[in-house]
């Protein structure tokens, strides 16, 4: 890199989440750079909601997010695998009842 790269300023990174419409859960959209939370919200709106893609936005400093690691996916989610009794398909019901949908 050239000399000028040491002098330049980069704003912190924020992750952007938006709610697509009333009652829907928030979704991750991407990220923006901004000096503070207020500007992050404005930048997020201009970047990810120019066409009413959202009715509400969250911005979170990217370094504040803790994520599960993909290598541990198997072990991490393992507790869910052997509990078939958590699903309705595990249970049988009388035929007559089954028909009524």
């Amino acid at each position: 890199m050239t000399e000028s790269s040491t002098n330049t300023t980069e704003w912190p990174l924020w992750e952007v989440f938006y709610q697509p419409s009333d009652g829907k859960p928030f979704e991750h959209a991407g990220s923006v750079h901004a000096p503070d939370a207020e500007m992050a919200l404005l930048n997020a709106r201009d970047t990810y909601a120019r066409r009413n893609e959202g009715i509400a936005i969250w911005v979170v400093p990217s370094d504040q997010i803790t994520a599960s690691s993909p290598e541990d996916r198997g072990a991490f989610f393992d507790p869910a695998n052997d509990k078939a009794y958590r699903h309705p398909q595990f249970y049988s019901v009388p035929r007559a009842v089954k028909k009524r949908k």
């Binding site: 890199m1 790269s5 330049t8 000096p35």
Partner: protein, 312 residues
């Protein structure tokens, strides 16, 4: 070093149609290729604002001015989606931008052509954005999750870009003799550079096979180009525009349109920096970046002070 087992497992995931996410293991070369491709794509969107921005103050009506402003703002947005996606691969925005302004990073050679008349703005929407849609529709299925998602967002907006251009060109092609001449002249100048946007022929494209193997791309340059030509021939005919290629003819056997030889010498000279606008474009970006530095500094300092005030 990547081990063979890791590489095999990775390939298996790709072949299964799984998406690769930022924290997943990936071959170093996959990461490098994606950084190269995604940042080139991002730079292109940002540089793409310049030829069109050239006409914002001179558009023929208020309506067209609003449309052009919205379109150019979208291009900025596309650049930001893509920079944001590229950063998930472990590079900073600053590195990406500086590699482009002071280093060797490339961007689409199409933006090194000048916009001489307002008809060029129409043709950019129709042809350049039309070609971009063909490419980006494929990239929306890319194996790298953040890249696929960024392209999906882009595609949704790009059809507005193409349609507004096509509509304007249709009007112009149906206008006074002078307007018709202007429209045809712009098409004549942009046609071949647009075909070059898909990149060199498959036989001269060293990266293609690897990118396809890894699912970053799913179609080759020539396949995409052929698809674009097929749909553009009809669109040109419908508005009375002639594509400047006497060899263009329908091939009954293949069901596609055959076209003449692409002037590759011109392509390589523009890629290497000798296009009509290369210097101008990089200069404009450099000025924007360097003269914007005080704004970034001031905003950062303001944020720091406000934080201190709140704490006290």
């Amino acid at each position: 070093m990547d081990t063979q087992k890791q590489l095999d497992d990775f390939q298996k995931r790709i072949d299964n149609g799984e998406k690769i996410e930022p924290k997943d293991w990936m071959p170093e070369r996959y990461r490098k290729q994606l950084i190269r491709m995604m940042s080139q794509h991002a730079h292109s969107e940002i540089v793409g604002m310049l030829p069109e921005g050239n006409w914002i103050t001179r558009v023929p009506s208020l309506k067209r001015k609003m449309v052009l402003l919205a379109k150019v703002q979208d291009e900025a947005g596309h650049g930001l989606y893509l920079y944001s996606g590229t950063e998930t691969l472990g590079v900073t925005r600053k590195e990406l931008i500086e590699d482009y302004i002071y280093g060797n990073a490339k961007y689409s050679s199409i933006f090194n052509y000048p916009t001489l008349t307002y008809a060029d703005i129409c043709v950019i929407g129709w042809l350049v954005d039309g070609a971009a849609i063909v490419n980006q529709t494929m990239l929306a299925k890319s194996s790298y999750g953040p890249y696929a998602r960024a392209n999906l967002r882009i595609c949704k907006e790009e059809s507005f870009h193409k349609k507004q251009g096509y509509e304007m060109l249709a009007k112009m092609a149906n206008g006074t003799p002078e307007q018709r001449k202007m429209a045809q002249d712009a098409v004549n100048r942009w046609w071949w550079p647009t075909l070059m946007m898909f990149g060199p022929h498959d036989s001269d494209s060293p990266n293609s096979a690897e990118l396809i193997k890894w699912g970053v791309k799913t179609k080759t340059n020539d396949e995409l180009r052929r698809h674009f030509v097929d749909r553009t021939v009809m669109e040109a005919e419908a508005i009375g525009i002639t594509l400047p290629d006497p060899e263009l003819s329908y091939n009954e056997e293949t069901g596609h349109w055959d076209f003449g030889a692409i002037p590759w010498d011109e392509f390589w000279s523009v890629v290497k920096g000798d296009g009509p606008m290369n210097l101008e474009r990089i200069k404009a970006r450099k000025i924007a970046y360097e003269e914007g530095e005080w704004v970034r500094k001031a905003a950062k300092e303001y944020a720091r002070k406000r934080k201190l005030e709140k704490a006290s």
